[in-house]
């Protein structure tokens, strides 16, 4: 299989910050809003370089979403920044009416998604945000897997006209997507080809999927690893093409299995080609405090879990 090396671990949120810094220089219509989490969202540079285009809104996320919607009227491209929990669940109706239904060009950028937020616990570990956002008509939903991809996605969504939910995280994780790999919204990336099982992963689980595929290869199992960064619109063609070859699929994500990537893929398979599927996802429970690693292990979101599910789904073929 095709091997990927860690180019040096970094947090995905820093990829967002770097992308935003670059956007600040090249697109004067880009504005940024933050709800008292500048450091956490890595928005410091943008704020320093473009104080007139940076808006500190305080701990008032509902107002932030409304302000962002209003700023699009006049041609601005607002990027809002706060934790994923406060970017979605807290402001769902504001996003629904003022952004999605009003068709406003707002980029909702969400850090600290999922269990890997860690010690702060379940109040902050949203595992429902992908579902909430993908159910909104017209919303593009992206979950990036490493620093390079997050930076590339941040640049790409500024060029896309329409509301976007961009999801990334807190922990330092391997950075392995080549810096020059183009980011195409809605286009899956086949990271490594295989014939026995398809492993589709998003976010922090992509690196785990690659580790799992390497381990499976040593056991004589050929896994195809696909990175879905855009959960909506979903690249159905790439998924169907892969399962036509492998005949089974494992989906992996740092999210509730209800409402997540796996659920979207189930729908595609049910309509086109019923295929055995196993989910690596949180099993409809809230998280808890702990280190990111301990949490991912306890809730079954790692390479070991992907390996087990891959074997299970192959047996179901």
């Amino acid at each position: 299989m095709k091997k990927y090396t860690n180019l040096g671990s970094k947090d995905t949120r820093s990829g967002f910050g770097a992308g935003l810094t670059e956007l600040g220089k090249k697109n004067e219509n880009v504005v940024a809003l933050c709800a008292d989490l500048i450091g956490s969202l890595k928005m410091d540079d943008f704020k320093k370089n473009h104080p007139e285009r940076f808006f500190q809104v305080g701990i008032a996320e509902a107002n932030m979403i409304g302000l962002a919607a209003g700023m699009t009227i006049g041609g601005k491209i607002p990027f809002t920044g706060t934790f994923a929990n406060f970017s979605t669940g807290r402001v769902y109706d504001q996003i629904r009416q003022s952004v999605a239904y009003s068709e406003k060009n707002v980029k909702i950028c969400a850090s600290h998604a999922g269990l890997t937020l860690g010690e702060d616990g379940a109040t902050h570990q949203i595992l429902e945000d992908i579902g909430l956002m993908k159910m909104l008509p017209g919303m593009t939903v992206i979950n990036t897997c490493d620093y390079n991809q997050t930076k590339a996605a941040t640049l790409a969504i500024a060029e896309h006209n329409g509301p976007v939910y961009l999801r990334f995280g807190r922990p330092v994780v391997p950075n392995f997507i080549p810096e020059d790999m183009p980011f195409e919204i809605g286009k899956a990336i086949v990271l490594s080809e295989g014939t026995d099982v398809t492993i589709v992963a998003t976010g922090h689980l992509v690196w785990e999927a690659l580790q799992a595929a390497e381990a499976l290869e040593k056991e004589g199992i050929s896994a195809e690893v696909i990175n879905i960064h855009t959960i909506k619109p979903l690249d159905e063609e790439t998924i169907l093409k892969s399962v036509a070859k492998t005949g089974c699929i494992v989906t992996a994500e740092e999210h509730n299995y209800l409402g997540g990537l796996g659920e979207s893929i189930s729908g595609v398979l049910a309509l086109n080609k019923p295929t055995p599927q196993e989910f690596v996802a949180v099993n409809d429970v809230f998280g808890e405090s702990g280190t990111p690693e301990a949490l991912m292990e306890k809730y079954g979101l790692n390479a070991q879990s992907i390996i087990e599910k891959a074997k299970k789904v192959i047996a179901r073929k």
């Binding site: 007139e52 809104v57 409304g66 302000l67 919607a69 209003g70 699009t72 009227i73 009416q97 009003s102």
Partner: protein, 282 residues
């Protein structure tokens, strides 16, 4: 040339007829607040706003308006149509299938004059402030107007926005509260007493003006003109517009009963008799 008072009054009366006929035709919608705000909308679109004849979403270099209490869409639609944004005949499609005139305003149907969806309450002030800040970034010295319902002030997002506006000196916005003192379940003082709104807004750092006669076209123009003079002064401007829910129809006044109820045939006839046709029905 600006219309004279009689012309404006004629338009106000015709707008009231439109509102009544629109909600009657579909036996739904919100006549009470719509009737109470007829003078405000006419004053705004016919006198106050420096606006372009054609509609562009970006609204650059013109005054723009947002309706936060979207349920009073009948008066908004009537005044938009009679101000030339779309054919008056289209008012007949209000709330019907395949119409651009949805129950609550939407941008989704691309109705000229509407820049954001509203209906779920409490969101309009934030959007208006965002648009006002975009105007500043664009070196656009025109104004942003926004209308809020008084009951709607019970939504917390408004207070986030009020705090933000003063802290950031958003002084190119004129917010108006339709102070009719009524909401679905009864008088606002009984449903959730908000105390002195004037004192609250002032404490939140806004410049506050009152229009005591919100159903007197001349008083509304005078009040909004005074508000306009206060813009550009490092403080956001709030107008407390005292109106009568159901104004212009005797049996719809002094009650909250007509907030979201349409008149029957007999009631419509009575109501229209009190507002005789001036400019022609749609």
């Amino acid at each position: 040339m600006k219309p004279n008072t009689q012309q404006l009054q004629d338009l106000v009366t015709q707008v009231r007829r439109d509102v009544l006929r629109m909600v009657h035709a579909v036996n739904s919608g919100h006549p009470g607040g719509s009737l109470g705000c007829a003078e405000y909308f006419v004053a705004l679109y016919q006198v106050l706003m420096d606006r372009k004849d054609t509609f562009e979403m970006d609204g650059k270099n013109e005054d723009i308006f947002f309706l936060s209490n979207g349920h009073i869409s009948p008066v908004f639609y009537s005044v938009l149509a009679r101000s030339g944004y779309f054919p008056v005949s289209e008012l007949a499609t209000f709330r019907k299938i395949n119409s651009r005139l949805q129950g609550h305003p939407t941008t989704h149907s691309h109705l000229p004059g509407v820049r954001m969806a509203s209906g779920s309450l409490g969101q309009g002030l934030s959007v208006a402030l965002g648009a006002a800040q975009a105007k500043k970034l664009n070196n656009d010295d025109k104004l942003v107007y926004v209308l809020l319902g008084d009951g709607e002030l019970q939504e917390g997002q408004n207070w986030e926005a009020l705090m933000y506006a003063a802290a950031n000196k958003v002084d190119n916005v004129i917010a108006t509260v339709d102070l009719n003192g009524k909401q679905i379940d009864g008088p606002t003082d009984e449903v959730l007493n908000m105390g002195s709104l004037k004192a609250k807004f002032e404490a939140f750092g806004w410049d506050v003006l009152s229009i005591e006669k919100g159903n007197d076209i001349e008083a509304v123009i005078e009040g909004l003109t005074a508000a306009k003079a206060k813009t550009g002064n490092q403080k956001p401007v709030m107008v407390l517009l005292h109106t009568e829910m159901g104004n212009g129809v005797d049996f719809m006044m002094n009650t909250h009963a007509w907030h979201g109820k349409a008149p029957n045939n007999e009631q419509l006839e009575n109501a229209l008799y009190q507002n005789l046709m001036t400019l022609g029905d749609y």
